[in-house]
Symmetry: C2
């Protein structure tokens, strides 16, 4: 349903306002149950993954390239705007003027991921870029899914989706509601819980791999600032480190996850 819009204040565009205002977006997206996909490739991936669109906000030149994935959604408002208009609405220079607003799905329960063999468990990673990169790395390296602590950043936030290159739509992930019971539940499901942390008595990743990688592995990573919480370090089946050289304190959490996912795949 093609609609040409010329007023950036048009209330029909309210899903798209102030895309750089993280706190406002959090409220808007939670209340309306939506998320925003940005860029042709990401919109395509969201639709191919079966997410239902609320509306599209596209510059004219994207229409031919997206025609095939737009076709089944003829009843959905397709707001055609200039790139300047897109900028006026969203408050920033939209990546080549292609946006979609999509319905969130009911959250995946943690239990759905417990049949997997390789999980990344992300403690309080509050940075959307890190969450997106972590998902991309876990997916690319063939891991089965990601569990997120209650305070970890939202994988369906625009920036996280973009950095993940849309892998948030294909890799299974779940929010852990009760963080305190997550570790015993993982162990009960047969996982060896591996805390990735640079504690003095950690085993090196090398040595851990040499001793034989267990059948089911859950790698737990923590925030960059404070690292993994002491509780997980204390209770994990193994504390494993990627030894650092040249005086470097640590790798970024997404890079560390990539190395661990490669070594333990």
């Amino acid at each position: 349903m093609r609609i040409t819009i010329t007023d950036p204040g048009d209330p029909r565009l309210s899903d798209y306002v102030a895309l750089r205002d993280t706190s406002l977006r959090k409220a808007v997206e939670t209340e309306r149950g939506l998320f925003i996909a940005e860029g042709e490739k990401v919109i395509r991936r969201a639709l191919e993954a079966g997410y239902q669109p609320r509306s599209f906000l596209l510059a004219e030149r994207w229409l031919p390239g997206l025609a095939d994935v737009l076709a089944p959604h003829e009843d959905v408002p397709l707001y055609v705007v200039t790139e300047d208009m897109a900028e006026a609405v969203t408050g920033f220079h939209v990546h080549r003027g292609a946006l979609a607003s999509l319905h969130r799905r009911p959250p995946t329960p943690m239990a759905d991921l417990l049949g997997a063999r390789r999980l990344v468990v992300a403690e309080d990673i509050v940075d959307h870029t890190n969450v997106g990169a972590l998902l991309r790395n876990a997916a690319g390296l063939g891991w089965d899914g990601v569990l997120l602590a209650p305070r970890a950043a939202d994988p369906l936030y625009r920036r996280a989706i973009k950095v993940s290159m849309g892998t948030v739509f294909s890799l299974p992930w779940a929010r852990v509601d009760d963080w305190a019971s997550a570790l015993p539940r993982l162990r009960e499901a047969g996982f060896t819980v591996v805390a990735l942390a640079l504690t003095p008595d950690a085993i090196s990743l090398d040595a851990f791999v040499a001793a034989g990688v267990p059948d089911k592995v859950a790698v737990v990573v923590g925030t960059e600032g404070d690292g993994l919480s002491q509780r997980w370090i204390d209770q994990a089946d193994a504390v494993v480190s990627i030894p650092m050289q040249h005086g470097v304190d640590s790798l970024n959490v997404a890079a560390a996850t990539a190395v661990a996912c490669w070594a333990l795949r």
Copy 2:
């Protein structure tokens, strides 16, 4: 030499203007031969690595913590400002109000790195975040240095330094002036040149490692958009890929470098 400044337009602060304006900064920093370090830890690392300061721009509360590294530079202007002033000068919210302007050194020649055993060679990685992350990963995982193509982003750009966590000061790196001769020079110096690329006939990183890692390895990585140039792919001793799953196109270049540095260390 402590100087309190109250006018954000004070010409003595001209090293610090418009820190988010990449093109302006490129001109300012090249012409004056300076770079900017941001944050207490990064300033400390730059000074410890022997870089000579031109001046400091610090909020009062940083003085005690940096006193030991500031002491040998009593003749260098130390501009003490409020955090609001720092913001007014630099045009953005400076990370907790701590900046230093330092002299660049003469560039390291490529030849200085050819005695190493493990080098990362970065083709046209134009994103400062990626260059900084790549340096951090190479350093943390114990590689000996990084060679940068002529068009790769400046590791001494503020954002690159910050993302690298200051490893740009400790890990040797050099700009390759003549890109066309870089590959034969590496080979002449005894390196096995490994192109990291997702070409259909690439060997998987696993298989390459299983066949025995050569004594001297130079891993060449390319830009994320276009990947490595065909010339390097054609001429490399081996083309190696990190196999991707879940429909992911590729890892981010810094994450791919981390995996390769780990596997080939």
